[in-house]
């Protein structure tokens, strides 16, 4: 048999996002895979050096389009660390509620992509509908469906409106009451089991060597979660659990996503019960003349895909000197993908890629 070189390119029905893989194929078996990013590169980190600290806020949330709140959170944490700003207690709780709602929305988007690719159209439509209900909540709170610009250094921008807590509880109940339907149609389905079991297997040692975090590591049995390791916002005020599975293949990764969604919903209920009253915002100096003292900081938080970090350097001026984002899809999409695709068949490329939970704009920035 001869070798062929195929392009699983950007315009393809099995590709979510603008990303391309070059495959070296013999018959139906893949010998070697090379990832080819760069279709979405905007030079973010260079553009951030030309804008003020406050002007960078609308820029930062556009790095990960599926879940922009965690980007705003990590930038706020870094600026607060450099400038020494304190955040009031109620703002910590509101930030946690926003981040967990964004996490549920992002997992529902991933479920749409995966179910659509496997052929389960019904479940895909349900997942997208439930995500729209969560985006309606965000629209009432912040004014925008997708890009919120709500979390900024000093707290959050405005308080919950009247009756908002009851609306959150009602929406989450209406989503949670559909979980038996999801289970019966997708998660306990024999076809999903046959198509995803033992596909794209990554052992724990390989995952640790390649720098993987997030679902890729939790599906191999390790309970590693940044919200437990160094708690930020209000995560150490309520009891919660880190779900794991044992096998490390695509089946385990999707089950970990499902368990995380349910855990997040319970966490939101507990946080809303325990929320104190008070202010939500500490004033920052005049944003046009705000100079932050010299220093550097590395902060990290847990986005829905893994460990998200930011290395921020300031030179005492009113613009950042260097900002470098460590996004979770960078090792997953460039190192783990090339390892998981060896000796797979062509029909499984989309399956493995979407179950590794890679978002293309995060790699290119």
């Amino acid at each position: 048999m001869r070798e062929l070189e195929l392009y699983f390119g950007p315009q393809h029905l099995g590709m979510v996002g603008n990303f391309s893989i070059t495959l070296k194929v013999e018959g139906d078996r893949i010998l070697e895979a090379t990832a080819n990013p760069g279709y979405l590169h905007r030079g973010f980190e260079k553009l951030m050096e030309l804008r003020n600290w406050i002007q960078n806020f609308p820029m930062v949330c556009r790095i990960n389009v599926v879940e922009p709140d965690s980007m705003e959170m990590v930038y706020s944490m870094a600026v607060e660390k450099l400038a020494g700003i304190e955040v009031p207690e109620r703002a910590h709780y509101i930030r946690s509620v926003c981040l967990e709602l964004a996490r549920v929305g992002s997992h529902l988007f991933g479920l749409w992509a995966y179910a659509n690719m496997l052929g389960f159209d019904t479940v895909a439509q349900w997942a997208m509908y439930h995500r729209d209900l969560i985006l309606d909540l965000f629209e009432e709170l912040t004014g925008g469906r997708v890009y919120h610009i709500y979390i900024w250094p000093g707290g959050v921008r405005r308080d919950f409106p009247e009756g908002f807590k009851e609306k959150i509880v009602k929406t989450l109940h209406s989503i949670g009451s559909c979980v038996p339907d999801y289970d019966a149609t997708f998660f306990n389905n024999r076809i999903f089991y046959e198509r995803a079991k033992d596909i794209g297997k990554i052992t724990r040692e390989e995952a640790k060597e390649m720098g993987a975090t997030g679902q890729v590591l939790r599906a191999t049995g390790m309970k590693y979660d940044i919200r437990r390791v160094e708690p930020y916002a209000a995560y150490n005020q309520v009891p919660w659990d880190v779900p794991t599975r044992k096998d490390g293949d695509a089946f385990s990764r999707i089950w970990v996503i499902r368990d995380e969604m349910i855990e997040s919903v319970y966490m939101i209920f507990k946080l809303i019960d325990k929320m104190p009253d008070g202010e939500v915002y500490n004033k920052v100096p005049n944003p046009f003349k705000w100079n932050i003292p010299k220093g550097e900081a590395y902060v990290r938080c847990e986005s829905s895909r893994g460990e998200l970090g930011l290395y921020l350097v300031s030179n005492g001026e009113d613009k950042p000197y260097r900002a470098h984002f460590r996004t979770p899809s960078y090792p997953h999409g460039l190192t783990v993908l090339e390892k998981a695709l060896k000796n797979a068949s062509i029909a499984d490329v989309g399956n493995i890629m979407i179950s590794l939970y890679v978002v293309a704009p995060e790699i290119d920035r």
């Binding site: 950007p10 315009q11 603008n18 979405l40 553009l47 895909a124 997208m128 509908y129």
Partner: protein
Amino acid sequence: MDRNQLIKWLKAPAKMGHKYSLHVIYFCTGCGIIEIPPSITSRWDAERFGIIPVATPRQANLFLITGYVSVKTLKPIIRTYEQMPEPKFTVGFGSCPINGGMYWDSYNTIKHLDKYIPVDGWIAGCMPRPEAIFVAVTHLWTLIDKEMANGYKKYRENYKYYRANQKQLYGKVEWPPLFPIEDKDEPSPS
């Protein structure tokens, strides 16, 4: 009835075919991929307007360029556009293809998409809502009725200038020209 009215009625079934069954090509070019799945699923159903996504450019009619375009993405966009059969329509989605948007000083994004492929209409916003897509589609129907949505005719007539712009950006364009142009270094399309 006079002859003009009869010709107008005979052309109308063709226009109705163009309008009410626009097939969108499935290509996620940029940021705007976030607002396309809500508009094709059950809450804001796009199929009642006749829009469904298809897999290949040979079966498609409408090209939605969602969000900003980087220098590396423009090549697949041009090749996909040239493979679509006529009549074809292009709509720019978001404020980045209009004049660069938020990334106006980036070294890797295209500022005016109009210089490289013809665009029939723009949708403003960052991100536009799904209802904005449907308003744009109804505007496109009015343009098709009045025969003003002729970006593909403009591409055929001014192909020399479009290809010169593409060459000035990339230095060398690898694929042969789509329509015959008189140029010494271009191979003729076989």
